[in-house]
């Protein structure tokens, strides 16, 4: 396959940045998208040019590092996958592929396609945890009876890998699917009840302070989420927040 890549290049956080065209030839349809970028980077290095910086780690759809906005969609045109699971057979020979970083005020570009997603970490620190005595007397979680449906929904919420595709896809750069999932995974379980009120209030407060936008329920986040996190989690977070606000 011969392709024309249009890639966002930005030297550092203070650089203005611009789209740069890169033709690439002999791309195997069986390559993953990241392998294709690896090939491009080898060519750039051989020519003495700076390689394109992009985040990647596990390359098996678990870590959520590979944050690329490809042809106008987070993680490209396929569904329920991360960029590392996207294969070049998805594209046509001769196609132009536009590759950009996540765009959000709360996710500033560090270099090229790499963005700073520590805003998510700070939201997690604000309340995305439960306090458990781990001094040797820890109670086995399985000793607490939990309704099957609640356990399933909590587990589904917990599959969020924090990749940020929800923020990137949302026209408002809202992080509510991420925060909704992180609130839900504990709100549905008895272990999460002790800190439930503070958790949702603190996590939403931190989310707002980070500069994410408001959710307008377009549903783009749910469609683009590689783990299929449902909008139900945002509704649950809304209920938890309103209930916690009334208690507070």
């Amino acid at each position: 396959m011969d392709l024309k890549l249009k890639i966002w290049r930005q030297k550092n956080a203070n650089d203005k940045g611009k789209m740069v065209d890169y033709p690439i030839s002999n791309v195997s349809p069986d390559m993953s998208f990241l392998e294709m970028l690896d090939v491009l980077n080898n060519e750039l290095i051989e020519k003495g040019e700076a390689p394109v910086s992009f985040d990647h780690d596990c390359r098996e759809g678990i870590c959520g590092s590979c944050s690329l906005y490809i042809n106008g969609e987070a993680h490209g045109p396929d569904r329920l996958i991360t960029t590392c699971q996207l294969h070049m057979r998805t594209f046509k020979d001769g196609e132009t592929i536009t590759i950009e970083p996540w765009r959000a005020k709360a996710f500033p570009v560090i270099k090229d396609l790499v963005v700073d997603r520590t805003a998510f970490d700070r939201i997690q620190h604000a309340g995305g945890f439960i306090s458990v005595n781990t001094s040797g007397n820890t109670i086995d979680a399985n000793a607490i009876p939990i309704n099957k449906a609640d356990a399933d929904n909590a587990f589904m919420a917990a599959t969020c890998i924090g990749c940020g595709a929800c923020v990137a896809s949302c026209k408002n750069s809202s992080a509510m699917l991420f925060v909704g999932a992180k609130v839900s995974q504990f709100a549905l379980l008895p272990q999460g009840q002790v800190e439930a009120t503070d958790r949702v209030l603190n996590m939403v407060k931190q989310m707002d302070e980070e500069g994410f936008g408001n959710c307008t329920n377009t549903g783009a986040c749910e469609v683009e989420c590689p783990k299929g996190i449902s909008l139900e989690n945002i509704a649950r977070m809304n209920r938890e927040y309103l209930s916690a606000s009334l208690k507070g």
């Binding site: 500069g211 329920n217 549903g219 909008l231």
Partner: protein, 230 residues
Amino acid sequence: MSGILNSSIGRKFAMALSALFLMVFLLQHFSINILSVLAPETFNVVSHFMGTFWVIQYLLQPVLIIGVIFHFVMGFVLEIRNNKARQISYAKNNGGANSTWMSRNMIWSGLSILAFICLHFYDFWFPEINTKFIVGDMSGLIDPNNAESGYRYYEELQHKFVDAWRVVLYVISFVFLALHLLHGFNSAFQSVGANNKYTKGLKGFSKIYAIGIPLGFVFIALFHFFNQAH
């Protein structure tokens, strides 16, 4: 509790409550307007009641106006805040791949509805306020000195739909209203946290409401346009 309106979720909750209130009002408005087609005499009687009963005039009408203003102001506030959350736009964005046109353009359909409300107030509300509170005629009669002349409401309604350009403007506005409701109805329920086993049924009902009510208003406008001499 005090800081709830300063939070993103609190603002969305308030926006949704005002939307639900306005949707109930819209249903009530349509129910009365359709009487102008089905039973003009009843339309006159109900219109006079709505225009003179103190609870509606001095209690519910101000609440409605506040609700409308709040919904528009909050809509603009949210739009401005959301635009600030993404300062650099994508070079290529395929929004149609993951969301509906209606959901992405609520501000534009909303602005169209705001423009329509201005025209609607110019057509009906301001003349009504002038007649009742400046001229001082609370009789609701065509000729205030002649009780036999009958109520003026149906005649005034028909008079407004003489001009084709006004009918066209009304029809276009109702199309934008339908587009706004097609997203707004479900969105309001999601914002107040109502996403559950009833959501599927609610989505079906929302389509009936979002298309049915504006279509009904279009029918009323066209009915009065075609049922009078031009």
